[in-house]
């Protein structure tokens, strides 16, 4: 594991909560983008907002750092009412926007300098901080090239570096890894973990359930502006579904014949995929194979795997988070495991 090079002062987690949203709603015209969301982000955690596109994640973040005004409800950050004292709140947090925004013709170092000035940092501090961040986010090799010459992964790291210029107590990341390749994603996760271990609270949004599951200590699942579930990722899965999943390719008309009378098995459907949730998926597969020589015998169609957050989302909303596959419908999610 790389040594921590960010040079953050070791910080005791502040007492109380870092972000507190109470029944926050945001209306755009006739559309309720955020609907009575309650949120509590405790200090020192990586906290995730998981949801599909349009769920209201970005809008929720904007209300937290005070750029969108809630239609109703209240937001406190560090115990401060952000609507009253936005400057004070924003001096202590950093935000990586969903869309990068740079001075494209200038270099990463020049971009960091300009951003440091937004925070009114003195020149010596800007120089020292830029230098630390070039190492921490592995930007050194491209420090003096124009940003136009950087790859997507470099740009995303630069965007995160900008939001760390003021040594924020709270780092807000809006879809930090969307569109990045897996290697870059893994290395960004590692940076986030290091920041957290140094006492920075991280609040991120994602529509990747893997990111939410592996990176976040606590989660809120958002769908159509509402919180549909919250808790630790493992706990969330345990609360909603059995621990193992068996996926089969079964047409709806064959479902009754293949698995129709199985007791105590939760079922979800997404298109032609049928998911069965049980304590022991391998055993269930055996049972099904004995009864039927259809889909369960086709090795290409069968997957045995741990239950994940995508399943939870499907169970709770009837739709999928990632890739927006249409036509999915949940069935029979209520059966006890």
């Amino acid at each position: 594991m790389p040594r921590v090079a960010a040079g953050f002062p070791a910080r005791d987690p502040a007492p109380g909560v870092i972000v507190e949203c109470r029944a926050v709603s945001k209306r755009f015209g006739s559309r309720l983008a955020v609907d009575a969301v309650d949120l509590e982000v405790p200090p020192g955690l990586c906290f995730g907002l998981l949801g599909p596109n349009g769920a209201g994640k970005t809008t929720t973040l904007k209300m937290i750092y005070g750029v969108a005004r809630p239609t109703s409800g209240s937001v406190r950050v560090f115990g401060i009412d952000v609507a009253r004292e936005p400057r004070k709140v924003r001096a202590r947090l950093g935000v990586t926007l969903q869309e990068n925004s740079f001075l494209e013709r200038l270099s990463p170092v020049q971009n960091l300098t300009v951003f440091g000035r937004y925070h009114l940092l003195p020149p010596a501090e800007i120089e020292a901080r830029s230098d630390e961040l070039l190492d921490f986010l592995e930007l050194r090799s491209h420090a003096d090239l124009p940003v136009t010459a950087l790859s997507g992964g470099f740009k995303r790291r630069l965007a995160i570096a900008l939001s760390l210029m003021n040594r924020p107590e709270l780092l807000i990341l809006d879809e930090p890894t969307t569109g990045l390749d897996p290697a870059v994603r893994l290395s960004l996760w590692q940076r986030v973990r290091e920041l957290r271990s140094e006492g920075t609270t991280v609040l991120l949004t994602t529509h990747y359930m893997e990111e939410a599951e592996r990176l976040c200590d606590r989660l809120v699942i958002l769908a159509e502006g509402r919180v549909v579930a919250d808790g630790a990722p493992r706990q969330l899965i345990r609360d909603v579904l059995a621990p193992e999943a068996l996926e089969l390719e079964v047409a709806p008309e064959d479902e009754r014949r293949v698995v129709g009378d199985l007791d105590g098995v939760q079922r979800l459907r997404s298109g032609r995929r049928l998911m069965l949730y049980v304590r022991d998926a391998a055993a269930l597969l055996e049972t099904i194979r004995h009864r039927d020589d259809g889909p369960a015998r086709d090795p290409g169609s069968v997957i045995v795997r741990p239950t994940n957050l995508e399943d939870v989302f499907l169970a709770l909303t009837g739709t999928r988070i990632e890739a927006g596959e249409g036509g999915a419908a949940a069935v029979d999610a209520g059966a006890a495991a």
């Binding site: 750029v67 400057r87 869309e99 001075l103 937004y118 939001s163």
Partner: protein, 255 residues
């Protein structure tokens, strides 16, 4: 929320940092544009005109073109450039993740437009002074009029830019607003001598007329009380439009 001057300066310095990288490309065309008018109209057309307002035609033309250069420099910043920063580059969105507030962004952008206008107007002034068309030292009074002109057109331009939904509309602004101003604001001919009656009053509404008069008066070394009206016009129009812009800025930059 009040403007924080230090944050406004940070916004201004962002633009300066970019300009420092591109000034050679930017400055040259700006330098030549008014010069081309001076040569073509001032010397070319001017050779058919024996005198205008007691001077050669080219000397008549020069002060007005100083004001035009300042107008153009400021206008470009608060129109196309500001629109791109607002809608395409998400520059303001990223500024607002820091303690910068919408009012600081507006103040910084206006300050920057004044700076650009002053670079345009100032460099043109230097050229005409060098070729002896600006009678010194009297014409030095024109120098403070350059940023004042920048302010007026920064305020007008930003109020327009914040309201329009699409970038194509700037062609209306330039072709149907700035170009007529350029042609009818006392620069090429004394407007008053062509107008009478109520039209004289209507003409006083033209924004560019007032900076042109101020610069021309400086070049001539003549003070008249009417210049106070010109200064007052600029102050009031700029002030009102900036208040208006401050209201829209909040709506445009925040949800």
């Amino acid at each position: 929320m009040r403007v924080s001057p230090r944050h406004a300066v940070a916004v201004w310095r962002r633009n300066l940092a970019l300009y420092q990288r591109t000034w050679k490309l930017n400055l040259l065309p700006n330098f030549f544009e008014p010069l081309l008018y001076l040569v073509s109209i001032g010397i070319g057309v001017g050779s058919y005109i024996s005198e205008m307002g007691g001077t050669s035609y080219v000397a008549f033309l020069a002060p007005g073109l100083v004001a035009v250069a300042a107008m153009n420099g400021a206008s470009f910043e608060v129109t196309y450039n500001a629109f791109v920063r607002l809608h395409f580059e998400k520059t303001y969105e990223s500024m607002l993740t820091t303690p910068i507030q919408p009012e600081d962004v507006l103040a910084g952008e206006i300050l920057w437009a004044i700076t650009r206008g002053s670079i345009y107007g100032g460099s043109f002034f230097v050229v005409i002074a060098a070729v002896g068309l600006a009678p010194l030292p009297a014409a030095l009074w024109a120098i403070p009029m350059i940023p004042i002109t920048g302010l007026l057109f920064a305020a007008i331009g930003i109020a327009f830019s914040l309201r329009i939904p699409s970038i194509e509309l700037f062609s209306f602004y330039f072709t149907l607003f700035l170009t007529p101003l350029f042609l009818f604001s006392d620069i090429f001919f004394p407007l008053e001598e062509r107008l009478s009656g109520v039209w004289l009053w209507v003409a006083e509404g033209l924004p560019l007329l007032h900076p042109v008069r101020l610069v021309r008066a400086a070049f001539a070394g003549e003070f008249s009380p009417r210049l106070l009206w010109d200064l007052g016009y600029i102050a009031v129009v700029s002030g009102v439009l900036m208040v208006l812009a401050a209201r829209i800025t909040r709506r445009r930059l925040m949800d």
